[in-house]
């Protein structure tokens, strides 16, 4: 955020002392405007933070946490319990595994796509291609899971119908959704399908700032298409790539909710249960383990913030602008 405020901060430095009366007379409406949003943040973002106290108290779903006695082990009972719970450890592992795979496979996809789009010589066709590539971003995970089921199901999915016809064997099936290993691939693939096209926007915007003279100079020097991409386009994208990569690293322990919930099925819960799903099932969906799940959520939030600060620090270390 700092880069937004910087120019104005420098303007602020040599300001004469304000006369409060005229200041307020002139600008009180600004505070009036802010009252509602600030109230919103206090009530719906900060007050819930007070309820984090539940993580250190006995499990009690009726009374507000401040009236409930402390949990065992100096209040850390639920954190200890969580790290002894096999299901939690598995969901932690799944979260990290799926996020890392998402990063490795999903991060380069929009870059490659943007390179292809950038090479496209026909303006109208380029615009049309972009419109189509943005489409999946606007579909919900519920819709996508139903699309995926019709496409990839074992028996009546489009791909398996074709596969059976081509192999001539009626039992030949690719278990996209029913085998845990294949499911992980499907999960990652659908993530790329949904967001890669949308992700090109930021790279294409960065590409417009590369001077055409660089391309002309490269062409004069006899560089072909690939050498131009390698020596002109990719270096032009470097700052954007670094910033986005570091932001992604910061979210390595974050977990989506809609995506695993919509795509999961009974056969693959071993690999599909991520932290958010664990919290939902143990806490709200019948489990009633509010203290335990609050503790897990707190662990996730705190580690998330630490990763984000670490990533931001790294970005600045590499001479990039960082994100905060």
């Amino acid at each position: 955020m700092s880069q937004v405020t910087q120019p104005s901060l420098s303007r602020e430095t040599h300001r004469p002392k304000t006369n409060w009366k005229t200041y307020l007379k002139r600008y009180w409406t600004l505070y009036l405007l802010l009252a509602l949003p600030i109230a919103f943040f206090v009530v719906f973002r900060y007050i819930p933070m007070a309820y984090i106290l539940m993580a250190f108290k006995k499990n009690n779903i009726i009374q507000p946490p401040w009236f409930v006695p402390w949990a065992k082990n100096n209040g850390f009972e639920w954190f200890i319990k969580a790290f002894k719970d096999k299901l939690f450890l598995r969901s932690l592992e799944n979260t990290i595994k799926l996020n890392l795979l998402d990063l490795v496979c999903g991060f380069p996809a929009p870059i490659l796509m943007a390179l292809v789009l950038n090479e496209l010589a026909f303006k109208r066709f380029k615009r049309f291609t972009q419109t189509v590539l943005y489409l999946p971003h606007f579909l919900s995970w519920i819709i996508i899971s139903s699309l995926a089921l019709r496409l990839l199901a074992d028996n009546d999915g489009l791909i398996n119908i074709l596969y059976k016809q081509m192999s001539g064997n009626n039992d030949a099936v690719i278990p996209f959704l029913s085998n845990p290993d294949w499911w992980v691939g499907t999960y990652i693939g659908l993530g790329i399908w949904k967001e890669a096209g949308w992700g090109t926007i930021i790279y294409l915007a960065a590409l417009t700032s590369i001077s055409p003279e660089l391309y002309e100079a490269a062409a004069v020097d006899g560089a072909g298409r690939f050498r131009r991409i390698w020596h002109v386009t990719l270096p032009g994208l470097r700052p954007t790539i670094v910033v986005l990569l570091i932001m992604r690293l910061g979210y390595i322990l974050g977990s989506e909710f809609d995506r695993p919930l919509a795509l999961s099925n009974k056969l693959v819960t071993d690999v599909s249960t991520v932290i958010s799903i664990y919290v939902y099932q143990k806490g709200i969906n019948g489990g009633g383990q509010f203290s335990l799940t609050t503790a897990v959520g707190l662990f996730q939030s705190v580690v998330g913030v630490l990763f984000l600060f670490g990533a931001n620090f790294l970005a600045k270390r590499f001479g990039e602008r960082g994100i905060m």
């Binding site: 802010l34 309820y51 996508i144 899971s145 699309l147 919509a262 939030s301 913030v305």
Partner: protein, 290 residues
């Protein structure tokens, strides 16, 4: 750019790659569209691929005759319009004062708001607090907790920043107060970003289902369309689900499910291409400055 002959072949290869990408993007949609327009018997025999067989629109008629589905569709449409208007209002009144250099406490307020983007209390504390407020099972739980997104507020703020300071100063000299400056100068100049944010909020509400899943369990009239679809598509015993959701026939035939999916998808597909040039700039502002 200087072109030689051999690059023409390269251009064709690029076009070919793009055609493949387009095909991959559209393939699942075409498949579902074909299934929704087909006769059930061809579906059972696995004969429908990308082109409908036994073309008919019975499924669409049945879906439109299902009161619960139509109710959910209308409810979600109204909810989306209401939420979008409220969210835009909140975003504007939050972003605008923060663009004033002279605003006392601006730095603190910025930090106060941005902190919520990086640290969240988590699912359970939010749930318990909303439960204590008595908001569960009401329509407000779908509107208020998500009515202001920090990310979108940053986009709005960046857009306001790009309005020349001299315009504001001129307005102030002419005696316009901050609100008048906002309404008569800033908002008209920010129409593209307002359109982008309206799209983001509307798509978020139309596609959102996790808040409804968490906060609304018993009150079926408040099921947004995505939660409704989740119930008929995901439940293992789809016969039971179908009965619950008001489709009278035993089990929910494949074509009906597909037609339901199409109805929930089409509104967005009709809107987003028209806003493309706006949201492209909106995303760019948000990602670079965010």
């Amino acid at each position: 750019m200087i072109k030689s002959k051999y690059t023409k072949i390269g251009d064709l290869i690029i076009v070919f790659v793009c055609l493949i990408l387009i095909f991959i993007c559209l393939l699942p949609m075409l498949n579902v569209l074909a299934r929704s327009l087909s006769d059930t018997q061809y579906l059972i025999r696995n004969e429908v691929l990308l082109w409908p067989k036994g073309l008919n629109v019975e499924a669409y008629k049945t879906v439109l005759n299902n009161d619960r589905y139509v109710h959910s569709l209308w409810f979600t449409a109204l909810l989306t319009v209401g939420c979008t208007i409220l969210s835009l209002f909140m975003t504007v009144i939050c972003a605008y004062p923060l663009t004033y250099d002279k605003l006392k406490g601006r730095k603190f307020l910025n930090g106060f708001i941005l902190f919520t983007m990086y640290f969240s209390a988590g699912m359970i504390p939010h749930y318990v607090m909303l439960s204590n407020l008595g908001m569960l099972e009401t329509v407000w739980v779908l509107v208020i907790p998500s009515c202001l997104s920090v990310y979108n507020m940053i986009i709005m703020r960046s857009s306001f920043y790009s309005v020349p300071e001299s315009l504001r100063e001129a307005a102030e000299i002419d005696g316009a107060g901050p609100i008048r400056t906002l309404v008569q100068i800033y908002l008209p100049l920010s129409k593209p970003v307002l359109a982008t944010l309206a799209l983001f909020y509307a798509v978020g509400r139309w596609n959102g289902f996790s808040d409804a899943l968490l906060y609304i369990k018993k009150t079926r009239e408040l099921y947004p369309i995505q939660l409704y679809l989740y119930n008929i598509l995901q439940n293992a015993s789809s016969g039971e689900a179908a009965a619950q959701e008001g489709f009278a026939m035993p089990g929910l035939s494949e074509t009906l499910k597909m037609a339901s999916v199409m109805f929930a998808t089409v509104p967005i597909l009709l809107v987003y291409p028209w806003l493309q040039r706006y949201f492209v700039s909106g995303v760019t502002i948000g990602a670079v400055k965010g």
